[in-house]
C-alpha cells in the first residue's frame, strides 16, 4: 500500500483496465498527449497509443453518442467530459439514449459505458467550472451514478464501473483530486457499485455525504467528537442505485439525520434521502432532517468571498452537527 492522491487512484484504475481488457478505450477532449486537463490520463497516450486514447472533437453529445455506439459494438469506452458543467450538451444522449437503451431494446443491447466527469466547486472555477450535477442524473432510471470520496474507492469503484454492463456516470470531486490523499492497495481490487459505506460509527446523529463533502464531514466529525458528539458518517458512494438498507439502518440507530451536499439545495439529492427517511423510518425520527447544501443561486460565483459564501465547509458542517445533536 502507498499513499496516493485521488487522481492517482483514478489513473491507476484506467491504466490497469486498459492493460486488462483490450476493449477498453478512452475518449474525450485533451485526454491524449495532454493527459487531461487534470492529468487523470497522464502517460496513458504514451503507453497505449492513439487507438486506445482518442482525443475527440469538441462536441460532448457525440463524445457520449459515439461511446454508446462503440459500447454496443463490444467495446468498453471510458468517455471523459472535461467539467461536469459541460455535460449539459450530452444530456440527451445520456438520458434518452444511454440510460434507456437496455430497457428500450428489451435487453437486446446494453451500454457498458463510463462517463468520467470532474464536478464541484471551491476551485475558483466560477459559474461554469464548479457545478454539481448528481441530483439531475441520479433521477434518471437506467443510469448508475457513482462518486468516490477517497483514492482507494476512486480506484476500486472506477474499475467496477468499467466492468459494469450499464452506463455509469462517474463523478470525481475535482477539489479533492490532489487534496484528498490515502492508501491505495497495489494491483487488482474492486469496490462494488450500489453499496454505501459507514465510514465512521457513531450514536448521536447520522451524517450522509459523498465526494468532497464527505472529506469535510470526516474533519467536522473529528471536531465535534471532542465536544462529545458521536457522529455516524455514511459515505453514499453510489447515488443510483442507492443503498437504501445502509441509509435506513444508520438512521434507525441515531434518529437524527444531516445530509451534506454542495449542489443546489432545492430538489437536490439530499431531498431524496430526507424523503426516504421520513417515508420509511418515520417512527425513528427524533429531529427534523437537516440539509446543509449549496444555496439556490445558479452556480458557484468566481470572486473569492462569493465562492466562500456558496460552499459548505468544515465550519458550517460543524455548526450543523452541533445544532442537530442539540435538538
Amino acid at each position: 500500500m502507498s499513499e496516493k492522491t485521488l487522481v492517482e487512484g483514478i489513473r491507476e484504475a484506467l491504466d490497469e483496465e486498459l492493460a486488462r481488457d483490450p476493449n477498453v478505450f478512452i475518449t474525450g477532449t485533451d485526454i491524449g498527449p495532454r493527459g487531461g486537463v487534470f492529468l487523470a490520463t497522464q502517460g496513458l497516450y504514451a503507453k497505449y497509443g492513439p487507438r486506445r486514447i482518442i482525443d475527440s472533437p469538441l462536441a460532448e453529445s457525440s463524445i457520449i453518442g459515439v461511446g454508446i455506439g462503440a459500447a454496443m459494438n463490444g467495446m468498453r469506452p471510458v468517455c471523459e467530459i472535461q467539467f461536469a458543467d459541460f455535460i449539459h450538451p450530452a444530456y440527451n444522449q445520456i438520458v434518452n439514449e444511454a440510460a434507456r437503451m437496455f430497457y428500450r431494446s428489451g435487453g437486446q443491447y446494453c451500454v457498458p459505458l463510463v462517463i468520467r466527469c470532474p464536478y464541484g466547486g471551491g476551485v475558483g472555477g466560477g459559474l461554469y467550472h464548479s457545478q454539481s450535477v448528481e441530483a439531475t442524473f441520479a433521477h434518471v432510471p437506467g443510469l448508475k451514478v457513482v462518486i468516490p470520496s477517497n483514492p482507494r474507492d476512486a480506484k476500486g469503484l472506477l474499475k467496477s464501473a468499467i466492468r459494469d454492463n450499464n452506463p455509469v456516470l462517474f463523478l470525481e470531486p475535482k477539489k479533492g483530486y490532489r487534496a484528498i490523499k490515502g492508501e491505495v492497495p497495489e494491483g487488482e481490487y474492486t469496490e462494488p457499485l450500489g453499496v454505501a459505506k459507514v465510514t465512521r460509527a457513531g450514536d448521536d446523529i447520522t451524517v450522509y455525504a459523498y465526494g468532497m463533502m464527505h472529506f469535510y464531514c470526516v474533519q467536522a466529525a473529528d471536531q465535534v467528537a471532542e465536544e462529545g458528539i458521536s457522529v455516524e458518517l455514511v459515505d453514499l458512494r453510489t447515488l443510483n442505485p442507492l443503498d437504501k438498507a445502509t441509509v435506513l439502518q444508520s438512521f434507525k440507530k441515531t434518529g437524527k439525520a444531516l445530509i451534506v451536499y454542495e449542489d443546489n439545495r432545492f430538489v437536490g439529492f439530499g431531498a431524496e434521502i430526507a424523503a426516504l427517511l421520513c417515508e420509511e423510518a418515520f417512527e425513528h425520527m427524533d429531529a427534523p432532517i437537516m440539509r446543509l447544501a449549496g444555496p439556490d443561486v445558479p452556480a458557484v460565483p468566481y470572486s473569492r468571498p462569493l465562492q466562500d459564501w456558496f460552499m459548505p465547509d468544515v465550519q458550517r458542517i460543524v455548526e450543523a452537527m452541533r445544532k442537530l445533536a442539540a435538538y
Binding site: G65, V66, I68, N73, E97, G142, N166
Partner: protein, 348 residues
C-alpha cells in the same frame, strides 16, 4: 421463438459469431435479386397499408409509414451484407428492416404492443424497430441520436479491425439537429466505415425543406466534413442501389464515409396522428402520390422481362398471406405481463 430473451446480458453486444452464413454481398443486382427487391417492396407496402387500415379501425394505436420510401430503402438494404453489416435505422425504415430479414410477425407484435415484440418487449411505440439477429439497432424517437451512435459502431469496428459497414438512416429534417453535425465530424476525422442515408421527403412533419435549411441538396452538407456527398433519385431502385453499393464498398475498403441523400416521397401523412391537409394542398398530395416508386419499379422489371403478370400476382398473393398470417399471430398474442414494465432496468 420471438419471445425475448434477456438472459446472458454479458453477451448482448457481441456480434462476431452471429449468422455468419447470412453475409451475402450483391455486387450487382442480378435478375433474381431484382425480383427479390420487388417482392420486399410489395411485402413492405402491403404491411404498411394494412397498418394504416388497422389504425383507422382502432385496432392499433399508432403507425408511421415508409410508403414512398421503399425503393431507396430496398436499394440500400440489398447493397449491404445483410445480417453482417449494421443498420441503425429510423422509424420510416419498414422496407429496410424487412429486407434485412425482420419477420412481419415481429413487426406487428410491436404495432400491437404484444408479448414477444422483439423490438422492445412492448415498451416502445410501433415502428421503433430493433432486431439483433439481423444486426438492426434500436430506433429512438428523439431524432438524430442514432448518428453519433452509428459513428461509434463504425469506430469500434475500425478499432477492432472488423469489416462490418454501418448504415444509418435519418430524415432530412433531422439533419438540422446538432447530433448530425457532431457525428459527421467524427466520420470525417476517422474515415469511418459508415454510410449515412438521408431519406429526403422534403418535409419534417409539416415544415417544408426551405424552412429547414438553405441548401438545395442535403448532400451538399458533406462538404463541411470532408466526406463524400451523393444525391440520388430515391424513387429509383437502380440508382439507389448503385449509389449505396459504391458507398458501402468504399466504406469497407477504408475510404471513409458517404453522406447519401435519397430523394423520396412521403406519400402518406407524417404519421397516423397527423393531418397533412393542414399544410399540403390536394394538388400537391396528388403530385406526390404520382411519384409512387412501386409501380415504377414494377414497370421497369416488366419491361426488362423479369416480371410477368403471373409472377406479380403470385408475389401479391404471398405478401397478402404473410400479412394475414402476421396479423392473426399478433392479434392473438397476449399482452406482455406487467413484469415487462418493471424491468430489468439494468443489465447484469
Amino acid at each position: 421463438m420471438l419471445k425475448l430473451d434477456t438472459a446472458g446480458a454479458k453477451d448482448h453486444n457481441s456480434h462476431a459469431q452471429e449468422h455468419p452464413g447470412q453475409a451475402t454481398a450483391h455486387s450487382a443486382p442480378t435478375p433474381d435479386c431484382l425480383v427479390e427487391m420487388y417482392e420486399v417492396m410489395v411485402r413492405s407496402r402491403r404491411l404498411d397499408e394494412r397498418c394504416w387500415l388497422l389504425h383507422r379501425q382502432g385496432r392499433i394505436g399508432f403507425h408511421i409509414s415508409g410508403i414512398g420510401h421503399e425503393a431507396a430503402q430496398v436499394g440500400v438494404a440489398f447493397a449491404m451484407q445483410r445480417g453482417h453489416d449494421f443498420l441503425h435505422p429510423y422509424y420510416r425504415d419498414l422496407a429496410m428492416v424487412i429486407a434485412l430479414g425482420m419477420p412481419m410477425r415481429a413487426i406487428l407484435l410491436g404495432s400491437f404492443g404484444k408479448q414477444g415484440d422483439p423490438s422492445s418487449g412492448g415498451r416502445q411505440m410501433p415502428n421503433h424497430y430493433c432486431y439483433k439477429p439481423a444486426s438492426i439497432f434500436s430506433v429512438s424517437s428523439p431524432v438524430g441520436t442514432q448518428l453519433p451512435q452509428a459513428a461509434g459502431l463504425a469506430l469500434a469496428e475500425k478499432l477492432k479491425g472488423g469489416n462490418r459497414v454501418t448504415v444509418t438512416c435519418i430524415g432530412e429534417g433531422a439533419t438540422s439537429e446538432g447530433d448530425f453535425h457532431e457525428a459527421l465530424d467524427w466520420a470525417g476525422v476517422h474515415r469511418l466505415p459508415l454510410v449515412v442515408v438521408v431519406e429526403n421527403n422534403e418535409y419534417a412533419i409539416s415544415v417544408p425543406m426551405h424552412l429547414q435549411m438553405a441548401v438545395e441538396r442535403v448532400a451538399d452538407r458533406a462538404a463541411a466534413y470532408g466526406i463524400r456527398g451523393v444525391s440520388v433519385d430515391g424513387l429509383d431502385v437502380f440508382a439507389s442501389y448503385a449509389a449505396a453499393k459504391e458507398a458501402i464498398d468504399l466504406a469497407r475498403a477504408g475510404a471513409g464515409t458517404t453522406l447519401l441523400e435519397v430523394r423520396v416521397a412521403r406519400i402518406t401523412p407524417h404519421s397516423s396522428d397527423d393531418n397533412d391537409a393542414t399544410y399540403r394542398s390536394p394538388e400537391e398530395k396528388a403530385r406526390v402520390r404520382a411519384q409512387d416508386p412501386l409501380p415504377r419499379f414494377q414497370k421497369q422489371l416488366v419491361e426488362m422481362g423479369l416480371l410477368t403478370p403471373a409472377m406479380i400476382a403470385e408475389i401479391e398473393r404471398r405478401a397478402q398471406a404473410e400479412v394475414d398470417d402476421a396479423l392473426r399471430y399478433a392479434e392473438n398474442a397476449p399482452y406482455p405481463p406487467v413484469e415487462w414494465a418493471m424491468g430489468p432496468v439494468f443489465a447484469d
